[in-house]
């Protein structure tokens, strides 16, 4: 501020007062629960004896390392993260390249491509459950007709098929985010670089690999990390579609945390699973913030 208020030498209470409500809400709903969650992970608390949980040190974590459900969940999280990120990114990139040219109806078509992102996640889940219905599902029908599969499949009750179905839904719902970020990234690549490449005789494929992809690099790093972070934290879509099943085949760490707390009522142990997830998220977040700072100082 160039003109200082009258009380310049004393503490200016106005910003503190203005920030107080958001402080209270964030502390009450986000920060205090996280602190409590971490501390609960050292207790053997269950829902029924919440106030009488006993301090058991790192016993929950010892148990965690021997719990095959935890290791399964770690593997599921990694697979889901890798597959959903890759498919979301590829769809986003493809559509961004398609939309990054001038043609009629461009704004209208862009809106169509963003629509999946605007739908409530629960609705997206319900539509896909209906489209994948083993008896009458239209996706089953179209895939049989196209020759991908030879008979309708029970996508959501077979443990080998639930993950592909979940990845399909995730990519459909999330690719608009990737597409928008990549579109913005494409627009930062100077035209002259393409013109120079064309003068050098580079064809469209060569231009893509030598101009477009290097130009997208800073955006790519941030976007890929963001997609991975989102997949680790995702709860609504997975819980509404499969609840982690069948046979724990879609039980990511987030879903295992929730199921341990509310299905098996083991709060302390759930907190330990959740804290493990938090640590993984923190590692990825640090990389994410470093990437943002680096791209900012490069710009």
């Amino acid at each position: 501020m160039s003109t200082k208020p009258q009380t310049a030498r004393r503490i200016d209470w106005l910003p503190i007062l203005l920030l107080l409500p958001v402080g209270v809400v964030l502390v009450l709903i986000l920060i205090w629960p996280i602190v409590q969650g971490i501390s609960l992970s050292f207790f053997n608390t269950r829902i029924l004896n919440y106030s009488q949980g006993k301090f058991i040190g790192i016993a929950n974590y010892n148990f965690l390392l021997q719990d095959e459900n935890f290791w399964n969940s770690l593997r599921v999280t990694a697979i889901y993260g890798a597959l959903s990120m890759s498919l979301t990114y590829l769809l986003g990139l493809g559509f961004a390249l398609l939309l990054n040219r001038n043609f009629i109806l461009r704004g209208f078509l862009r809106t169509i491509f963003i629509l999946p992102w605007a739908i409530p996640e629960v609705v997206a889940v319900l539509i896909f459950m209906w489209m994948l219905d083993p008896q009458f599902g239209v996706l089953n029908y179209l895939m049989v007709k196209a020759g991908f599969i030879d008979r309708p499949l029970a996508w959501l009750t077979q443990s080998s098929l639930a993950m592909p179905a979940l990845v399909m839904l995730t990519a459909w719902q999330q690719f608009p985010l990737a597409m928008l970020i990549l579109l913005a990234g494409l627009q930062t690549i100077p035209r002259e670089q393409y013109e120079a490449a064309m003068v050098d005789g580079a064809g469209p494929i060569s231009r893509f690999f030598h101009v477009t992809l290097p130009g997208l690099r800073p955006v790519n790093v941030i976007l890929i990390l963001l997609l991975i972070l989102n997949s680790f934290r995702r709860v609504t879509m997975i819980y509404a579609m499969t609840r982690g099943g069948p046979a724990r085949s879609t039980e990511t760490l987030s879903i295992l945390t929730y199921n341990t707390a509310f299905e098996y009522q083991k709060i302390g142990y759930a907190a330990a699973v959740g804290t493990a997830l938090l640590i993984i998220l923190l590692i990825f977040s640090l990389i994410y913030f470093r990437a943002i700072i680096r791209s900012r100082s490069a710009a």
């Binding site: 986000l30 996280i34 609960l40 043609f103 491509f113 409530p120 889940v125 008896q135 929730y258």
Partner: protein
């Protein structure tokens, strides 16, 4: 072919391809609508890709046989309260972050960014207990407070961007004319940032409207269910009447889509700026 003709042919090819892919992306939406306006004819193999007989029966049936009216009302309460809380809190916080550059505001900026990365799955476990202890459990307003916390970081961030673009000199002029500091903000700056306020209200409404995970955990009584919880409760049943389910899905999706259309432009621009500039 002359070069011009082949250039036109290539343009047409890309345009047709884009349209075809847009149709593929839109298909799940299409299928939701089509299934909701067909009667029992949706239970057929092969499925009818075009609706055979048009009927709105499914819409009437869900209102008669399910508690849809109650869920709809509850969802409006939660979404409305979330929008209100979100707007009141974000206006003041975003103004403070935009106009004061002190250590407190710097700290707050990092807290806000950081809190966006916390896992909801870990938060809800203690939150469930905290809500029971404080009497917020099983209350629509309590749920709205929780929803608000999750959308606040993003909405404050977006609104701060709007305030940053309004020159501080306008406020200073108003203060010379006798306005108080806050008076200048509320009477001069805030009206100029009206689009930002609309965006924040719409975002609060959408997030409260769509939310499922917190609602599933923090609400117990069926009378307090919101649409997202009510709709997913059908899935345990022996046979699902999918035409009715899709009719309910249409009713659930429409308000969210309407509000999304309002914010689309700003959200797209803000998102792009945030990702490219960091």
């Amino acid at each position: 072919m002359t070069p011009q003709v082949s250039a036109i042919a290539i343009r047409v090819f890309w345009f047709v391809l884009t349209c075809a892919l847009a149709a593929v992306v839109f298909f799940p939406y299409y299928w939701m609508f089509v299934s909701s306006v067909e009667s029992a004819s949706i239970f057929q193999w092969p499925p009818n890709l075009w609706p055979k007989e048009f009927s709105l029966d499914a819409y009437f049936t869900i209102f008669e046989q399910r508690d849809l009216a109650t869920w709809l009302r509850n969802t409006f309460v939660v979404a409305g309260c979330t929008a209100l809380f979100c707007a009141i809190i974000s206006i003041n916080a975003a103004y403070a972050l935009s106009r004061f550059k002190t250590r407190t505001t710097g700290l707050f900026t990092s807290i806000i960014l950081f809190s966006q990365l916390l896992p909801a799955a870990l938060i809800v476990v203690p939150l469930f207990v905290i809500f029971q202890q404080t009497g917020l459990y099983d209350s629509l307003v309590g749920l709205a407070i929780a929803d608000t916390a999750f959308i606040l970081p993003l909405s404050i961030w977006l609104l701060k961007g709007f305030f940053d673009q309004i020159p501080v000199e306008i406020e200073q002029q108003a203060m010379i004319d006798g306005c108080s500091r806050l008076g200048a903000f509320y009477r001069v700056t805030l009206p100029l940032a009206l689009p930002g306020l609309v965006v924040v209200i719409a975002m609060g409404f959408i997030s409260g409207w769509d939310e499922f995970f917190l609602a599933r955990t923090l609400i117990a009584a069926q009378d307090n269910w919101v649409l997202s919880v009510g709709l997913t409760s059908f899935r345990g049943e022996y046979t699902v009447a999918w035409n009715e389910m899709m009719a309910a899905a249409v009713i659930f999706a429409m308000p969210a889509l309407a509000f999304f259309m309002i914010v689309q432009r700003y959200l797209v621009a803000g998102l792009a700026a945030g990702a490219v500039k960091g």
